[in-house]
Symmetry: D2
Subunit: 135 residues, 4 copies
C-alpha cells in the first residue's frame, strides 16, 4: 500500500495546473496536507487583487491531496469558499487542509488559507466521495 | 452612469487571470452574463482532467461580471460549487450567470457551467455584498 | 416497484416533524415535489420572524421527498440555504424541489421557497447520496 | 452597552421555536455560544431519525446568539450544514458556535454539533451581515 507522500507525489507530479500555480508541498500525512504558493501578477483580476479562482484552486488542491492520501481515490462532491480578505500579487499563501469527518464513503475537510501576516484570507470546506478504487 | 457592457469591459480588460484562462464574453446585461472558454492541457490535474479551480474560476468571473454590472461595486461573500462531470483538455465550457435574488446590500447568483455536449459539468452559487462605491 | 407517490406517502406518514410543521403535499413526481405550509407563532424567533430552521426544515423535507422518489433510498450529504426575506407568523410558504443533476450515486436539488406574495424567501441547495437500498 | 448574556437572554426569552426545541444555554461570550438540547420523538422523520431541520435549527440558534452577542444586530446571509451521523429520539445534542472571521460588515461562524458519545453529528457554517442597529 502506498504512503500518503507517495500518493500525493504521484498526483502532484502530474498536476499541471498546481505546478502552474507554483504550489509547494510543506507537510502531509493521512487526511492532512499543508501547501504554499506565491501570488503572481498574472493571477490578478480587474480589481487588482488575486482572482477568487486562485485561492480556490490552492484550497482545492489541498482538498484533493488530503482526501486521496488515505489510499482510496476520492472525488470532490461539493466545495464552498468565503474570501475574507483581499490578496495581492506578491502575497504568500499557506493552505492547511484538516479532516473534519470521515466515513466509509464520504469525508469532509476544512482548508484555511492564510497570508504572510498570518491573516486568514479564505475559508474553504469540501466534501468528497471515497471510491473503491485504490491508488 | 456606465452600461453593463462598459463596466464589464473595464473589469475584463484588466483581469489578467480571466485573460490567461482565455475567457470570451458572449452576452451580458444587468445582472447577467454568458462566458465561454476552452480547456487547455496546462489546466489539468493529476487525474488528467481539468483542475476544479478552472471551472470555479470561470464561474467566479461570471459572478463578478454579472454582479458588478448594475453599476455598484460588488464583492463575493460566499460561493459554492459542485463538480458534476469530469472536464477534459479540449473541452469547451459555457458559463451562464443568472440573478436569483437582489436586495440593497446583497445579491445571489447561480452559474451553470456546461460543455460542448450541453452536459452540465458544474453548478455554482455565489452571494455578493453590494458596496456603495459606483463604477 | 413503488411509485413516487407511494414512496413519499410512506415517508410523510411517518415523518412526525413534517406533520408538526403542518406540511401539505401539493404535487410530486420522480425527482420533484411541491409542498406548502403555514407559519405559526410557535415557529418564530427572538426577532419576531420565522426561525431560520423553519424554512430550512420545509426545504429539507422537499429535498428528502424529491430525492427518494426515484425508488432508491437517498441520504442528505450537504445542504445550504440563503434566507432572502423575513417570514412572519401567518405567512404561507411554498417549497418546490427541482432536480439539477443526477448520477448513479449522487444527485443535486434546488428548492425555492416562496410566500403568498410570490416573493422568494429562501434559496436552498442540497446534495444527496443515493444508496443501493430500495424503497 | 449590553453584555453578550443580556443580548442573548433578550433573544432567547422571545424565541418561541428555540424554546419549543428545548434549547438550554450552557455558556456564552462575545462571538461564542454553547447550547444543548434533547431530541424528542416529535422531531423525527420518516426514517425514524431526527429530521435534518432539528440539528440545523439548533445550529442556527447558536449562530444567531453568537453573532448578535457583539452588540450589533446580525442577520444570517448564507448557511450550510452537513449531517454526518444519524440522530435518534433521546439523543442529547451539544452545539458550539465559534467565530472564524469578523469584519465590520460580515462575520463567519462554525458550529459543530455533537452527541452524548462526543461524536460529531453535524458540521454547520454560517455567514452573517452585521447591521448598524444596536441591541
Amino acid at each position: 500500500m502506498k504512503t500518503p507522500g507517495e500518493i500525493i507525489s504521484q498526483m502532484y507530479d502530474n498536476d499541471a495546473f498546481s505546478l502552474w500555480l507554483g504550489i509547494e508541498r510543506l507537510a502531509e500525512k493521512a487526511g492532512y496536507c499543508h501547501l504554499k504558493m506565491v501570488v503572481r501578477q498574472e493571477m490578478t483580476n480587474g480589481f487588482g487583487i488575486a482572482h477568487g479562482g486562485i485561492t480556490y484552486s490552492l484550497a482545492d488542491s489541498a482538498l484533493a491531496f488530503a482526501s486521496n492520501s488515505h489510499g482510496q481515490q476520492a472525488m470532490s462532491i461539493e466545495t464552498s469558499i468565503s474570501h475574507t480578505r483581499p490578496v495581492k500579487a506578491g502575497d504568500e499563501l499557506w493552505a492547511e487542509a484538516i479532516e473534519l469527518n470521515k466515513s466509509r464513503r464520504l469525508a469532509i475537510y476544512e482548508v484555511k488559507v492564510t497570508n504572510q501576516d498570518k491573516h486568514t484570507v479564505a475559508l474553504f470546506k469540501g466534501t468528497v466521495f471515497r471510491t473503491e478504487k485504490d491508488w
